[in-house]
């Protein structure tokens, strides 16, 4: 098990947790405000949540995905890691402004 892949998996799990919080805030907004703006955020969050659940599934349960990762070069694994970690940074910044 390469460290890169472990870190990417952890980042995907973190993304799911952060998004669950964001979707919770936006769902409450939509219930109370009923506007298209609040609904738009909720739908946006829902799709990103689905994306990250897919990542978690691929990293944790999909043997084929792992086989494919290890056929690649170290760069393949680092690029995959980059996707989840960059998204984590973006989501943490969004959570920081949203939690206010």
């Amino acid at each position: 098990m390469s460290l890169w892949v472990d870190v990417a998996e952890a980042a995907a799990v973190l993304n799911v947790a952060v998004l669950a919080g964001l979707v919770g805030v936006w769902a409450r907004s939509y219930r109370r405000l009923g506007s298209k703006h609040a609904l738009g955020l909720l739908v946006f969050g829902g799709f990103l949540l689905a994306e990250n659940l897919l990542w978690v599934y691929a990293y944790s349960f999909d043997a084929g995905f792992h086989a494919w990762l290890y056929e690649g070069t170290p760069f393949t694994r680092q690029a995959m890691l980059g996707l989840c970690v960059l998204e984590s940074v973006a989501l943490l910044v969004l959570a920081w402004v949203t939690w206010d």
């Binding site: 405000l33 009923g34 939690w99």
Partner: protein, 91 residues
Amino acid sequence: MEGVLWYVLAGTRGGTNRARILRALDDRPRNPNQLAEDLDLDYKTVRHHLDVLTDNDVVRNSGDDYGAVYLPTERVRDHWDTVEEIVAEVE
């Protein structure tokens, strides 16, 4: 209306209370104490929400030193229909 306004009201955890505050101030200008009482919110919370709304040029302070009241800015008044859209239902 600047894109940030809808996020401040619809996107953030405190947004629904900020929307209630904006509605109340549109009804009539009030000071933080009156807002806290009228909306059943903590005084410190009200002050924080007013700071955020002021930073985003949504409300302004009337400028009297003693018992200053807050009111919606001209910019928000000009876009009041947009505010109504964002804040479709808040009580």
